[in-house]
Symmetry: C2
Subunit: 282 residues, 2 copies
């Protein structure tokens, strides 16, 4: 099914960036954007004048081949139920939620006339809100598209093509694999960055006046929106708790290395991390 009409539900950082990227890359696709609040609608109209905007879900999803839910995961079920009667039969619905097991479990039964495929474009970091949206947000970002036992190939393929068209490097994982992986490389790192900030504030608040670029890099994600991250953390709390426990063990290893005062073993520890980190992109 060729994409001729795209509905974006929620114009925050991700929804706004999808709208901007589509205008730039596929101007032939009609875009409609839903937001609840009048000021959010006004902001998206200013940013993306070509988009149709409305707070009426029916108007926004009507005729859409693809609907992207760009709202917090807790808000998705109600919105899905509300839009279902107005969806074009067979429409593809996807989302941008950072946790996938609860989403792919809850949404398909609420969307019987649509095809639901879970997505997670890993872009954004510490930024949030429409004001941070940009057309190139997805360029080279990893986007995970979930696949499960009952996934159908066609909507799966369409979802992958959509994200690839925005510049993403698309990978497929099961929802459970996704949640385990992001617990280790996104959710726990976020909580650890917040823990580092809170620890310094508590133990040595005057030290915050002496931060170099290292501390700012290490804690940047902690500036992300607390409410959104609370929802993510609790939705994936089992996997994150396992990652947190492993991190505690690694910090205990660091303490033992400091205590041993042996340059060779400390260098081995830091060299291993240096080599792995250099392998990642900047």
């Amino acid at each position: 099914m060729p994409l001729t009409r795209l509905a974006i539900i929620g114009p925050g950082l991700l929804g706004g960036s999808i709208a901007l990227a589509m205008c730039e890359r596929r101007p032939e696709v009609a875009i409609s954007v839903w937001a609840r609040r009048a000021e959010a609608l006004k902001a998206i109209r200013q940013l993306v004048p070509a988009a149709f905007t409305s707070s009426d879900l029916r108007e926004v999803v009507a005729g859409a081949d693809l609907v992207v839910l760009c709202v917090p995961i807790g808000a998705m079920p109600d919105l899905a139920s509300e839009m279902e009667p107005f969806l074009k039969p067979g429409a593809l619905v996807t989302d941008v939620g950072s946790v996938k097991v609860p989403v792919v479990r809850a949404l398909p039964p609420l969307l019987p006339r649509a095809q639901f495929v879970g997505s997670h474009p890993m872009a954004g970091s510490d930024q949030s809100g429409l004001s941070a949206a940009r057309a190139d947000l997805f360029q080279d970002a990893v986007c995970i598209v979930t696949v499960d036992a009952d996934s159908k190939p066609e909507p799966q393929r369409e979802a992958c093509a959509f994200w690839r068209g925005l510049g993403c490097q698309v990978r497929t994982l099961t929802a459970a694999e996704h949640d385990e992986i992001v617990a280790f490389v996104s959710h726990l790192p976020h909580l650890a960055a917040a823990a580092l900030v809170n620890m310094v504030v508590e133990q040595m608040p005057e030290a915050l006046g002496y931060c170099g670029s290292g501390f700012r890099d290490s804690t940047r994600v902690a500036a992300g929106p607390a409410a959104m991250w609370t929802e993510i953390a609790l939705a994936n709390r089992g996997a994150i708790a396992r990652a947190a426990e492993a991190m505690v063990e690694k910090l205990r290893e660091v303490a033992r290395l400091l205590d041993a005062n042996d340059p060779d073993s400390m260098t081995r520890f830091l060299s291993a991390a240096q080599a792995e980190r250099e392998r990642l992109r900047k």
Copy 2:
């Protein structure tokens, strides 16, 4: 004493950046650079053609008003002893070491004819080597200059003026205060970033293929040179061990918040970190 001749000992990231910044900001000051290896001398000559370069310490420090030790802290005592007979009497000697108590304890007795003041420009992060040097490295970077009971005002003032002239925001602290503070905002964050990388490699190596900008930011410092960071970590191991213990406690608090599954208390934790992190610069 006006600065007319500056000697830089060791042309790595910091030494090279000092040379570049001085050429740009104070071209009237004569610069001489010492390096042990011929290829390092060749590289600095290419980068800073105006500098006098030599592997002979005597030639490099002769007549210098200010000598900046830009070598690993473990190499400083031998170089200080070696240069002492050739120093201009009353010359100011400073350094860029990331740990200050061992440096301000070891160096002054080795430099009886000079005035030693400890410095720590907090710039560089994950980069190292002359190839990463740039004239604006120090712009807006915090530089800590140490002051102790027996510090003399004049060399102290000159050291502060030198760093300020390179663009630094200069602060003074005792060496002990410095080492406590950087344990919390630089050394422990570095070891924690390395611990995070090593933990993921051990527990879920496949997750490294799914890193977003958040993980890359959080672990960027871990790409720093392992040998240099080993030296720093062990030279300040007492204070870093205290910070590591406090970090373990904070991660245990995170685990309890996950276990409690209470959105309000998790939001309080993340909001506190978000507000503090937003107060820091990007």
